[in-house]
Symmetry: D2
Subunit: 337 residues, 4 copies
């Protein structure tokens, strides 16, 4: 475990953009990093109400940015997640005043008092592959599948911007989609030299929509490797898995997030297959799915997914995903799973 990069508190970031790199990362290198949870680890018991133990804007810290050797504006950065493993045997969730889809918020502003703030602790059993929900007001307890993912992965945005890690957009960021799990490749556009990749906000699991605003938050040991695809344009974040291509739309209102994701998938399918635009639209309409990411953050996320089996062998980004998933992993790399 000696190679794991564990950021010092002062190295944690709260924006994408506007920061100096903490390390270099070369294409093909395999790197394991530690990421803190969205509360910076400050919520440890049901009595640690987030609004008391956390302080704005010290929320949703990210590890990085990593300067990616050779990445230049106009390229695409492919980030492959070889492994995402909880670094603790517990996760935590909560309600948070004026945050979440079933409460009034600072933007969907109402005159009612907010919902009560409350914390739930989730024991994680890595061997069993479960996280345990324990009701606060009754004895209802159920085990849910442990499905680790990262909520927040991104690069520095365009136009000298520095954007809060709570927001997502074309640079990635707080995507909060359960599709961003181990075995997946995330494609991001590069806007600045070195791309400036950072990640955090690990979730032991998350429902589609993250309706309460907070997932099962936990620290992670995460192993990534990257590739730079020179001159390849990526209009919005994309994912590739063993059997699917996914476009991610980040926007409000939710139908715009849907439109962005579907529009990009239609264009992407058209480029990969040579299908005319309306033919690709038709194929996506009948064969596509639309996994919901988050409906709680400053920008929502919707995903549009096409099974790779329907693309008749076309390979995205010149086969980057297949190369990356075949990356040899150091024997002792994590060793905790």
């Amino acid at each position: 475990m000696s190679d794991i990069y564990v950021p010092k508190p002062a190295e944690l970031g709260y924006t994408f953009g506007g920061r100096e790199p903490v390390r270099d990362l070369g294409p093909g290198e395999v790197r394991t990093v530690y990421t803190e949870d969205c509360f910076g680890g400050a919520v440890k018991t049901i009595d640690d109400l987030p609004t008391r133990v956390c302080q704005m804007p010290y929320l949703n810290p990210v590890t990085g940015p990593f300067y990616i050797d050779g990445a230049e504006p106009g390229d695409t950065l492919a980030v492959h997640f070889l492994d995402i493993t909880p670094a603790r045997d517990w996760g935590v969730s909560s309600t948070f005043p004026h945050f979440g889809a079933l409460t009034s918020t600072h933007t969907t502003a109402t005159l009612q008092p907010p919902l009560d703030e409350q914390v739930w602790m989730y024991p994680i059993d890595a061997a069993a592959g479960t996280v345990r929900f324990q009701a606060r007001e009754s004895d209802h307890t159920v085990d849910l599948p442990l499905e680790p993912m990262h909520g927040t992965v991104g690069v520095a945005p365009a136009g000298w911007q520095a954007i809060s890690t709570i927001t997502c957009d074309v640079h990635g960021g707080n995507l909060d989609t359960p599709e961003l799990r181990a075995g997946t490749t995330l494609y991001l556009p590069v806007f600045v030299h070195g791309a400036m990749l950072a990640l955090g906000d690990g979730h032991a699991r998350q429902g589609q929509g993250e309706v309460s605003g907070v997932a099962v938050e936990t620290a992670m040991h995460t192993t990534i490797t990257v590739e730079v695809i020179k001159g390849a344009s990526t209009p919005t974040p994309r994912l590739e898995t063993s059997d699917g291509l996914l476009s991610i739309g980040c926007a409000r209102p939710l139908e715009d997030a849907f439109r962005i994701s579907q529009h990009d998938l239609v264009q992407w399918v058209s480029e990969l297959t040579g299908l005319a635009t309306l033919d690709a639209y038709q194929l996506v309409a009948q064969a596509g799915t639309a996994p919901v990411g988050n409906v709680c953050d400053p920008n929502y996320t919707m995903l549009a997914r096409m099974p790779k089996a329907l693309l008749r062998g076309a390979a995205a980004y010149e086969g980057a995903h297949e190369r990356l998933r075949a990356t040899p992993r150091p024997v002792s790399e994590v060793g905790v799973r």
Copy 2:
């Protein structure tokens, strides 16, 4: 097949509400009906552009309404789909001017010309269980799974309203969700004596979101049976399958459809399990999924789904789904599958 109810053209309906019943249907009866496709069967080749061969408002005809014996305002009607089988060996899809999520529409009004209107024919191979996509502008052909469903099922709405079959709302209607397949029970609130159930708009399959506005449309032979749950309230349409409970939200914008569906699921889970509201909210947030219905109709649909396995044995509507799915089916009922 002598028992199949095939509506005469004059019996087809274009509204929920405002119409006399075409037949009675008693709880426990098994009834097979024929439903026309959304174009009234008028689009038969790629040269039959819908705007030429169809005439407003003769779109999306429904079969019914059926007067459900014993259904009264305040009850819930459970409609179980024993079988949904295409009545043809072809389906059809199209673009339609100012309709669909990736075009400007009459409400998302822009000054650009609409997308071209174009038709796609889909051969259906019932034996192989496939529908075939054939590109218009290239030789790309792929087989997609045949997954028959009904886009439109509803009852007469409240308040003496008569609502177009193109719209959905708490009375059901044009829900356009691929989750409404055989083996599923749909729960609808009853607003008028006899409920006035009608259905149509069969899809050989549909992607999540129905992004182009039109699915693989086809006529259906559909076998249903119903139960009236006296005095049970249903705030928004709900589905039950062998392993899940789903709440359906019908609204614009899309986040409101999401909110309605998640809000109803939280309340439903809370009632069934005795979980406190915030505990149910938490469980839904971590364990729920959010299958997208349509993002093209006058009201969009989002679904919120909870696995029944997490409810520790609680049975919705006093076990109606289990009773209905066990309904004995007449031997010769359809016989075409």
Copy 3:
């Protein structure tokens, strides 16, 4: 006052469409009618909470429908408001659970309890031209201008629909815009023989947006006259005043109501002036205003307004507004003001 049509309780309507006419009305006739307030007159003191004294769906009654002689599908009905005068010396407003822009609603569903239900009484001083706001919890009292208007005016919709009087759409209905005052002509498309005009929901005044969901509601004596413009198409409700043309967009989300109104105004200005579409777009962009109607009803309303002075003499609907406002009024017609 003998000529005033006062509907009997059983004659009041709660839908546009689906009803028989109560009277005929010929083009050029001047007719004074009585309209009830949105609560059917049942809220008379601050102790009459609407949810206790009113019963769904007996809300927002309209007077009519009037069968307009000569109106046929495809025509436009011009309704001119010669006078709108409160029929009482008091109006009433309230909060209403799950209704209004600053509370959670049945569609913007949250898990919080709704805002408290509370009633405000407004003395109307017709001579002074004021309505008086009196705070409930303090001694703050201010006089606001009496600016009578109708919230709800519409015709039978297309496609055999019957739509609640709480909703607005292309057929008019619950537009809830303060621009619909005396001296104004409302243009509505005709969908059925006789058009079936109905009106109600008088407001002694209303702020833009009707943010709390309820205006200063009162019964009205309203004098109208109508003209049928044969073969003239009206894509969405429009208003004409002495100095402006206004298009009304009815939709959710609010940006779609905005888009519809602006889109229609661009097209209307282009037709009237011969400006190319992009030129008309440009002129509307720099010279137009966007008066907000309601942001609380099932469909919101936004208006787009162009000063007539910029149209270089072009007359809408062949000068219908000028003809209608010049209609001679019977001497004793109302006589109460």
Copy 4:
């Protein structure tokens, strides 16, 4: 004119936050500055298509930031506009691909080609107080009132963010409301030491909604003075004029911009008058207006306005507006018109 600060090209800013101050500005000082138009002055004829002569992200340059002496996080900055005078005798507008409310955009993504890009030149006649619209495709010409305003005024945002000058939010920024004219005081929250005030994007005039995405853009000579209100919180940008208080909501969708503005106005009125929250809600609902800002930028703006006459003498921010508008202006300050 020696006192006018004219930024060198390298001093222009494209973000709020992330930049060093260009000058100090003390409370009570009167400062005249030059601001470039949103195209950086590059669009000078109808042949200068913005996408050809401008380069992302060099759009919407701002002058500043100015370090405001004494401004600290938690304070409110009051910026009073003593004068806004076009620095040229012409303005310019255009359509811009994928920008504006009546076209598809990068977020409201459709598969149609964008609207044509086209430029309009507007002669400004300062003596007559007009800007002249000249149609491109016909001879239609009309004079519109010259009503100079600033589209973009803001401070550095919270949380180390640097936000594009094309966006608005609680820090101000690209508000694009015609209410921001001379004689008005803008209140902004202070997030960093010195506040870091910057401004630009002058409009010779603008319609409500800025529906085409671009106003009558021109360079400005603008004279401001500021006051720091210690310890005063400002949840969202606010305006004060001689007769009204206005709260500005910045968000998508548009109803959230509306909600934020109305919610803030209700709270503000309640604080100033001692009215209970529901009483203030009621007063705003009946007496308020809702001037539309922009419905085209990354965040839309809606304003909520209350006449000061209804507040029975309550003074906002301890009378800052009255003090600021009484600021003596240097005799020769502008003198260029």
